[in-house]
Symmetry: C2
Subunit: 573 residues, 2 copies
């Protein structure tokens, strides 16, 4: 093997820098230009305890990495070859930026003399992801020059740190490589040459004056917490205790991670309650404190838009991403810090207010339980059954209808059940891969609830289950097409509806199972689904639930009206 | 249905403008925000003779559109909803720009008040494809205002014209739409209100002085034509006659469209011939004229790089995309124009030169034929068999190994056999969809030759065959992984090779056939493959050829050396 010292030294240094910053999970898509990076990563894998995943489809690879980053709260490295391979990462990169996930995208590239000159498999990779990465770095060509090596290592570390610094997000390193691409694969030994740069310290908190002022505004008032999706590692567990102490309800999005509790103040019935028109009577809050990202519930957003009291956003990044335009103040701390600062300082809300919310939620949960005491396996029933029957688990939920169903019928549970979803751009792309990425870092049982269109869209993602022996149980709600469109006005355009929106794929889930060597089961009743969920979960399992799009709309609307009516009846008392 | 006149009038005008410019093929991916566009396209379909295709996976949809544009030389419209749906188009958009194909990308978007504010399914779609589109237009919000309507129609027409103007390429229209999204679907009648803008006229040609000068440089010399991939509708058929008249060889890439001839001067054996070191002796040219894009052959590029005579690039766009850096002059006309201007004006090359090339090619073709007089079904044999056994047809060829095999063993044929390939970024993504796009506009039998990794990468693309009853026979060369890497130095890194490069997918092509309701056949010999290719082609057919990656490398290298030796033996005589 011809010696290729500069290349080896340089790429090794890039790897040392990544590892120094704690990057250990890596998703590689095979290619020629990325050869030295892939080989040296493999060569260092044992020494550095790297976990290498190989995914042929770069689109799936990036969503797989996103799933790992989302659940582990750790940066994940993506490596691909030059050309459109890198462009296939784009959807996941956008989702990572919108949901603040630390993806480290390392694209390899042709050297300068082969760019913009008609050379094969060369595209202009300069700022390929536009404004959708936090930072971009064009790395210099490999060199064993000490100054270059030190600069590159530090710059790589800087970008990893940027991806982990509020607001978190993806970064892009473009690495040009010249042939020969074969590195030396001599034994690597000795301590790493790159020193870790610890993450920036220094957290924002309220000054004593600011805190006194805030306490004055909040103490004894009818406050309402709204907890949207929790994207970061910030510890929100104290919020439930604070809410209990002051008697404030928390409208808790399933992605907030706060529905794992027996607290009567964790509210899940707001989507129905806030269906307009609504008068909250005794439950009317005076002020709102929002944490986390945009909640799933559309009616909650509508209610907030119309709310005329003060709305404070706890937003460490101060980006003010509030499409309800309701925000009147921003607290630029983490939730954990704010909770610590407020704990013990606030007088409680009037009991009548607290009780009104507790009653509403109690009624909601009872009615939901009652509604689903049936063996009929509707789409809502799937969400409810997963919420109540699945033990300690991570459950990924697809966009479109499943996340809406979980939002409404995934009522709080005392067991450790974490819901996950790609709620940045809310795409149906890459969902299978993200769920498998979750499974790859999970210490619990893993589930995915997904419709047939989203399942089809990222079917390639299933390959990773087989290749890396990942355990995931996928519940495919197969209504043979786009179920959500039946809720929209175009459902009235009957002659165009099926080909344009319904788009039946006639996908045989059993044939997919055969292709990917998954266990397959068709369940037709609630009891069947419950039984299937009780089974131990190893490997890839596909559970198919067949539903009818039209019946689903009728069932949803009927249940929603009934739930709202019940809650309103209690509000009036 | 609530009347929504402004929206309807406005979107109808956009459609009228597109149709006025000749856009009739449309690929829609279902979504909510694109509702009025999709519905009104369907509503106008009969009246305007539109061909609507619906593809759930936007990545596949864009490559399908690219395939249609490439083969039909007509602009094709893509329509999708807001969010990452649009980002899934990115790989095909990049490929379209590099291969100069007129994709009209119409992304629908949330209105301004829902962008960059945390609203769901909203990403910043402004210049989403960066420098990879020729033009971008942010359309105004729908309005029935006459000035706005006229402006929008003209602007849409302008962008379509831009996509069709040299250098051709993709354009991006971003259309923000506000709810309600349901258009009026009243009967549309009467003549279209938008007038067609005819394409810009006025072609470049050589002035009499320039022509006289050029004729002086070329006449009687030992000239060599190099014809790379033909991306446009420019008619190259006259070039073979001109070459015959002056006795100049044409090194004809399979994608040049020039290998459909019995001319002894259409040369296909150059990849082997130019394997270094090479002395051309009597076949040594004095000058080169290049047409078309970058040829597939790596050895041809290497030879050209070292050639020290004048190299003239016929390049209507004068982009000088020549990574061999050999170009010394540019003729800014079309090939058809140049051929017309030169015809009848040039004295021929010395006969010894012409005969040397004819002999070389004759030897090459004979030896190739001889080498493949075997029932052993190697990967090279597949290319040769398709070239010789398939009748009048369009054959799409995947990147990586298949196009290299076709380049070498797809020797010229007198029947009408057109080869197609995505040779912009040379990706293995989207190949199945591009081939089906070809099939959707083809007037002939349709084939795809593809390896198992590329087949897997765009397996979703197969859905279009079923949905739109497209006829395509796919020959899947299944060597269970990435065959090309066995040719590269990393093959020596045995302990890392299979997981990182070989990447066996263990894909059961028969199971894929079952999933997509395709006919499936496993062929094990040349005779079997010939028999399979003789069958009439309707619907989707999968023909699997199983090969071994290691044996393939050995067979290729052995054959290449033998072919080069034979040609060199004749050069020396």
């Amino acid at each position: 093997m011809k010696s290729n010292n500069s290349l080896t030294t340089y790429v090794q240094r890039v790897i040392d820098a990544l590892v120094a910053q704690g990057v250990t999970r890596i998703v590689i898509s095979p290619g020629s230009r990325s050869t030295p990076v892939a080989l040296l990563l493999a060569h260092n894998a044992a020494r550095y305890h790297l976990k290498l995943f190989v995914d042929v489809d770069e689109r799936s690879a990036a969503f797989f990495a996103l799933g790992m980053a989302k659940v582990s709260h750790q940066p994940v490295l993506l490596v691909c070859t030059s050309g459109t391979a890198a462009a296939n990462y784009y959807p996941a990169v956008i989702e990572a930026q919108l949901t603040h996930q630390p993806l480290i995208v390392l694209t390899t590239d042709r050297p300068p003399e082969l760019t913009n000159i008609g050379a094969p498999q060369a595209i202009d990779q300069d700022r390929l992801y536009g404004q959708y990465v936090k930072q971009f770095a064009q790395l210099p060509l490999p060199s064993a020059d000490a100054t270059t090596l030190d600069y590159v290592a530090f710059n790589v570390q800087r970008l990893v740190l940027a991806s982990e610094t509020t607001p978190l997000g993806p970064v892009h390193l473009n690495l040009p490589l010249r042939k020969p691409l074969m590195p030396d694969l001599e034994p690597v030994a000795g301590p790493p040459v790159v020193r870790k740069i610890t993450k920036p310290v220094g957290d924002r908190q309220l000054s004593p004056t600011q805190l006194t002022q805030l306490v004055g505004q909040l103490s004894g008032r009818r406050g309402l917490f709204i907890a949207g999706p929790q994207e970061t590692a910030d510890d929100w567990s104290g919020l439930v205790q604070l809410a209990e102490a002051v008697g404030w309800p928390i409208l808790a999005d399933p992605l907030s991670g706060l529905r794992q509790t027996d607290s009567s103040l964790v509210i899940s019935g707001y989507e129905q309650l806030f269906a307009p028109p609504i008068t909250l009577a005794a439950a009317q809050p005076e002020l709102v404190i929002r944490i986390g990202a945009t909640p799933v519930s559309a009616h909650l957003a509508g209610w907030l838009k119309a709310f005329d009291g003060p709305v404070t956003l706890v937003d460490a990044a101060a980006t003010l991403a509030d499409h309800t335009l309701a925000t009147t103040a921003v607290i630029r701390t983490t939730v954990a810090t704010l909770v610590t600062q407020l704990t013990g300082r606030l007088a409680g809300a009037p009991a009548v207010y607290t009780q009104a919310w507790q009653t509403l939620e109690q009624v909601y949960r009872q009615q939901v339980k009652l509604a689903f005491q049936t063996d009929q396996l509707t789409e809502g029933q799937v969400a409810y059954t997963v919420a109540t029957q699945v033990p300690s688990a991570n459950v990924f939920v697809s966009n479109s209808m499943p996340i809406r169903d979980v939002d409404q019928f995934g009522i709080p549970q005392t067991h450790s059940l974490n819901w996950w979803c790609n709620r940045g751009a809310n795409g149906i792309d890459g969902v299978v891969s993200s769920a498998l990425g979750m499974a790859a870092v999970s210490d619990r049982a893993n589930y995915l609830v997904i419709g047939d269109l989203a399942f089809f869209h990222d079917m390639n993602g299933l390959m990773m289950a087989q290749r890396h022996q990942l355990a995931l149980t996928i519940i495919v709600i197969n209504n043979n097409g786009g179920g959500i469109f039946s809720f929209l006005p175009q459902a009235a355009a009957e002659s165009y509806f099926e080909p344009l929106f319904g788009t039946p794929q006639n996908l045989k889930v059993s044939a997919v199972a055969q292709l990917y060597e998954a266990t397959y089961e068709l369940v037709a009743s609630t009891a069947d689904l419950q039984a299937a969920l009780q089974q131990s979960t190893t490997g890839l399992r596909l559970i198919e639930v067949r539903t009818d799009r039209n019946e689903n709309v009728v069932a949803h609307r009927k249940l929603a009206s009934a739930l709202k009516a019940e809650m309103e009846a209690h509000l009036e008392n």
